[in-house]
């Protein structure tokens, strides 16, 4: 049976509520439970989850719904009391700073008058207004929230540019400004390589590889994925190019995105013609000659883009980069051969389980060089769109950070549960040959990913000892999780850890060819 209590006018942010919700479902006698603000979206989620009660109709955005499903009528009171305690705990945790927490942007600026950047991650329908408030107060903005309308994005960016302000996002997860990693970003060296990216994990991969190579970042600007669409017209992408052109600390510029809309690409190319600094571009999935005419050096992978930038920074010959990568690829033959032997007959499919959307895209592009039929929830080709993202079909690559997986839960970089379940699910599938996955480190990501994923890998290996586990770790030595430590533990446990997402896909290609 389902019972609920409603707390009128008690606001909690969704992350706090997800944490509470997760704890409740672990309580004794609870079959299912949820704690949400009574927004329209949440109400429809409750309906689909079968946790909706008619009385919820009269509540709205600022009311808190606590819904419990249990078979034990006499336990509800105890359960609700426990929930209450959890909420008090999480509220107190917020307040235990002791000092005053301002209730508004305006109040915050009064206390910290030299504030120059607002990092906004509230629900999308409020985020646009908040971002505009920040811009009007003269703050640069990193807008992490998604579900902000296209019109709002354009309005925000136009206002920002008219006032020489940086407006990153909406849906901007990664940026490193003046050496400070914001939201989902890695701890990188400072240096002379500037990055402009319309892709968060793409930016993480490129900036981390640069840093691990011993080079550094001047600025890493995230624009949000829609900036390079026709409607937004590359407003922030192009303005950032101009800013890095004039930035004395930036010697080389790297552009990271999906292929921009042709009209936007034209504008980018026009701007590139004004820039004498070397520019490396990685437009994932674009034709190689798409950018060449503008004089930018086109990379085929995120890793190549990073290495090209390093070579330029070091005044080295850039042609050596492609040679090095090809040689390295060939050297993977021996590892691949060993893995092929491990995989028992009948197992023939790749199952790629990604937390980074761009990493999922890149792996697909590389794998498609040799494999035609790859199904995905991020496939550009309708023929290969997964009918059901929760179930793999033949070769499958899924991005677990897509909305269909993240409604009502944290992103897979923070909450491993969903991917962990999927790993077990794939291990049980007798046709799975390779489980390919990414691990993204850095700020924002889970503080202890090994503790989350290692028991699952071990469990999967027990279910099927004849599967190959391939992984790459996006991150740096300075990241709070420490990249080399993570790699060491994974390798000790039979996981093949490749130096980059691209390299991981390359070796999967080699293995797959052999097991066919």
């Amino acid at each position: 049976m389902i019972k609920s209590i409603v707390k009128k006018g008690e606001y909690f942010d969704s992350v706090s509520l997800m944490i509470v919700g997760k704890d409740i479902t672990l309580m004794d006698n609870v079959i299912d439970a949820t704690v949400v603000m009574a927004t329209q979206e949440n109400k429809s989620i409750l309906k689909t989850a079968g946790l909706y009660l008619d009385e919820f109709e009269k509540y709205d955005d600022t009311d808190l719904l606590i819904v419990i499903k249990s078979d034990f009528e006499d336990k509800f009171e105890e359960i609700f009391e426990n929930v209450n305690n959890l909420l008090i705990e999480i509220r107190n945790k917020k307040d235990d700073q002791g000092s005053f927490t301002p209730k508004s942007l305006e109040g915050a600026i009064k206390i910290q008058p030299d504030s120059n950047l607002a990092l906004i991650s509230i629900a999308g329908r409020f985020a646009g207004d908040e971002a505009m408030k920040a811009l009007k107060k003269g703050l640069n903005v990193m807008l992490f929230s998604d579900n902000v309308s296209l019109e709002t994005e354009i309005e925000l960016k136009q206002y920002a540019l008219a006032n020489d302000l940086l407006m990153m996002g909406p849906d901007c997860g990664t940026a490193i400004i003046n050496g400070v990693p914001l939201a989902f970003s890695n701890a990188v060296n400072r240096g002379d390589i500037g990055i402009i990216a319309a892709s968060g994990t793409g930016l993480q991969e490129v900036s981390s590889i640069i840093s691990e190579e011993g080079f550094g970042i001047s600025q890493a600007i995230g624009t949000g994925g829609r900036d390079i669409k026709e409607a937004v017209g590359g407003l922030m992408f192009i303005s950032s190019l101009e800013a890095l052109k004039d930035d004395d600390e930036t010697k080389v510029i790297v552009l990271v995105s999906k292929p921009p809309h042709p009209t936007v690409l034209n504008k980018i190319n026009a701007k590139l013609n004004e820039i004498s600094k070397p520019v490396v571009s990685i437009f994932l999935g674009a034709d190689a000659d798409m950018v060449e005419e503008s004089g930018a050096i086109a990379a085929k992978t995120l890793e190549e883009a990073a290495l090209l930038a390093c070579a330029i920074s070091d005044n080295l010959d850039t042609s050596k980069v492609a040679e090095f990568l090809e040689e390295r690829r060939l050297s993977y033959g021996a590892i691949a051969e060993k893995e092929v032997k491990k995989i028992s007959s009948g197992r023939k499919y790749i199952r790629g389980l990604f937390s980074g959307g761009t990493l999922c895209d890149e792996a697909q592009i590389i794998l498609k060089k040799d494999i035609n039929n790859i199904f995905s929830n991020r496939s550009g080709d309708e023929k290969f769109a997964l009918a059901d993202s929760w179930t793999s079909k033949e070769h499958t690559l899924v991005d677990l950070g897509e909305d269909e997986f993240t409604v009502g839960r944290l992103h897979p970089m923070m909450d491993f549960d969903l991917r962990n379940k999927r790993i077990i699910q794939e291990a049980k599938d007798k046709e799975t040959a390779i489980i390919l996955f990414d691990l993204v480190l850095g700020y924002g990501a889970h503080a202890d990913p090994i503790n989350e994923i290692l028991p699952i890998i071990k469990e999967a290996q027990e279910i099927a000892s004849n599967i190959s586990f391939i992984c790459s770790v996006t991150g740096t030595e300075q990241d709070p999780q420490n990249r080399s430590k993570i790699i060491k533990v994974l390798e000790e446990n039979g996981v093949i850890v490749m130096p980059s997402n691209a390299a991981a896909a390359e070796i999967v290609n080699l293995i797959t060819k052999e097991i066919k």
């Binding site: 006018g9 606001y11 942010d13 992350v15 706090s16 709205d60 955005d61 600022t62 917020k94 005053f100 927490t101 301002p102 209730k103 508004s104 942007l105 305006e106 109040g107 915050a108 600026i109 206390i111 910290q112 030299d114 504030s115 120059n116 950047l117 607002a118 990092l119 906004i120 991650s121 509230i122 629900a123 409020f126 908040e130 920040a134 003269g138 640069n140 992490f144 929230s145 540019l161 020489d164 302000l165 940086l166 400004i177 003046n178 400070v180 990693p181 914001l182 939201a183 701890a187 600025q219 303005s239 950032s240 101009e242 800013a243 004039d246 930035d247 600390e249 700020y443 924002g444 709070p480």
Partner: protein, 468 residues
């Protein structure tokens, strides 16, 4: 484009949203401040837009309103009987706290107080008679606020009751308030028994003339000055009036002794004031009233000039919307209850006493009053944080009322309804709690945040004026 305001500067972040982003930046030693963000009020987008578009006009009007509020010079200038001085007062009129209300909707304590007043006026002998009279339509009911008057809790004022007379010497307007009866079974909490009525009679026959003579003898008493000192002595002059009462006692006692020739009356009157820590509440309230009334009718101003409850409804009036009331349901306060009572017994919020918050005192000044922090969560820090939060919805800061702990910063003053709805943050009010049934009296004291609904209506009302 160079992003010169950012590149090369030390990054200082305002984090609105996920706490973990703040934590990560703090770990790296970066400068970051968190916003405890709550959604804005559930209000029509057009209203917000109109208010936003007319921001400059509204702020100019608010500057004017604030100036009047800060310049107010509230003095106690005398005492009199309600029928002689309160505008529109008549024998069959009962004034009450809060926005307008009809007999069929009055709450228990309001009902009790009205019945008590009818008995006190000699129009009925007992509850049943008085109830019949009240329901018959023979009596009219009207908000104190519409008669230059304020009253604590039920706030019932009838024609024979003595009142303090306050004058705003800067602007020439007056305000009135009854004399405080003390704690326990009292009219303002809905008691109407013999003890209550006899006390009221004594106040009329002995306390009133004695105080009147004393005040006349002194001439006038500067109440703004007393409140400013009381704040330095641990009062916020809503839930704590011990310092204010003591200061008033010092001011009035010598004059009482000099002007009253009956020693037993002197003793009784002085003991009565001395024995009632809330005696000064009935002076701090009309101080708020006489100060804020001067700021009424300032076109386009979004500053609140009255914020009050009648035990059923919570009502607001703005400087810029003339006599309109914006009304929503009154809430039940979070309170500490006297032994034997619980939240079940509590009546929804009641009284004109939130005029103190409206003028920058009470809950807005609670940081000055560490002695009553058990009402707000137990630590002095909680109290300070409540006051700091109120700066977010106040248009200005007071020039006379100061918080010692905040380096004598002026209290947040002038509630700006546009800020309330934009930030989704309502005023914080200290209050006493009445039993929901007539005749029982006070059951606790506590705090509450005002309901959002009246503020949404007020913002909408103001915005509609721009539409015309």
């Amino acid at each position: 484009m160079s992003f010169k305001k950012l590149f090369g500067k030390k990054v200082e972040v305002v984090n609105v949203g996920l706490d973990s982003f703040r934590d990560d930046l703090e770990k790296q030693g970066e400068k970051v401040i968190n916003v405890e963000w709550t959604p804005p009020a559930n209000i029509d987008k057009n209203v917000l837009q109109i208010l936003q578009e007319n921001k400059a006009i509204i702020e100019a009007a608010n500057e004017k309103a604030l100036e009047i509020i800060l310049n107010g010079k509230p003095y106690l200038v005398g005492l009199d009987i309600a029928r002689n001085v309160i505008p529109g007062m008549s024998e069959n009129l009962l004034l009450h706290s809060g926005p307008p209300i009809t007999w069929d909707r009055v709450s228990g304590p309001m009902k009790g107080a009205m019945i008590g007043a009818i008995i006190y006026e000699g129009k009925a002998k007992n509850f049943d008679e008085a109830e019949k009279l009240a329901a018959s339509g023979e009596f009219q009911f009207s908000p104190c606020h519409e008669h230059e008057t304020v009253g604590p809790m039920a706030g019932v004022v009838s024609a024979s009751m003595p009142v303090f007379v306050l004058k705003n010497e800067e602007y020439g307007n007056y305000a009135y308030c009854t004399l405080n009866e003390g704690l326990g079974k009292v009219l303002r909490y809905g008691a109407y028994d013999t003890e209550t009525i006899e006390r009221l009679k004594w106040m009329e026959k002995e306390l009133y003339p004695t105080l009147k003579k004393a005040v006349d003898f002194i001439g006038k008493i500067d109440l703004k000055n007393i409140i400013a000192q009381a704040l330095h002595m641990g009062d916020e002059v809503h839930n704590r009036n011990r310092a204010g009462t003591s200061l008033f006692y010092r001011a009035i006692a010598p004059a009482i002794v000099q002007t009253c020739d009956k020693q037993d009356v002197v003793a009784k009157v002085l003991n009565f004031i001395n024995g009632n820590d809330h005696f000064f509440l009935n002076l701090s309230m009309p101080v708020g009233k006489v100060t804020l009334d001067a700021a009424r009718n300032i076109k386009n101003s979004s500053i609140v000039v009255a914020m009050t409850r009648n035990g059923t409804d919570f009502g607001l009036q703005l400087a810029g919307t003339k006599d309109s009331w914006f009304v929503g349901a009154a809430l039940v306060p979070d309170a500490l209850y006297f032994p034997g009572f619980t939240k079940e017994d509590a009546n929804p919020d009641i009284g004109d006493s939130s005029i103190t918050e409206t003028v920058g005192l009470g809950g807005f000044a609670i940081a000055a009053s560490p002695a009553i922090v058990q009402f707000v969560g137990g630590t002095a820090n909680d109290a300070v944080n409540y006051t700091l939060a109120m700066y977010e919805i106040a248009f200005g800061e007071n020039n006379m009322y100061q918080i010692p702990y905040l380096n004598f910063r002026g209290t947040p003053t002038g509630i700006d309804v546009t800020k309330v709805v934009e930030k989704g943050l309502t005023p914080f009010i200290d209050t006493g709690v009445a039993h929901k049934d007539p005749g029982i009296g006070q059951v606790g004291a506590g705090v509450l945040s005002a309901p959002m609904d009246p503020f949404i209506k007020a913002a909408t009302g103001l915005a509609e004026q721009f539409g015309k």
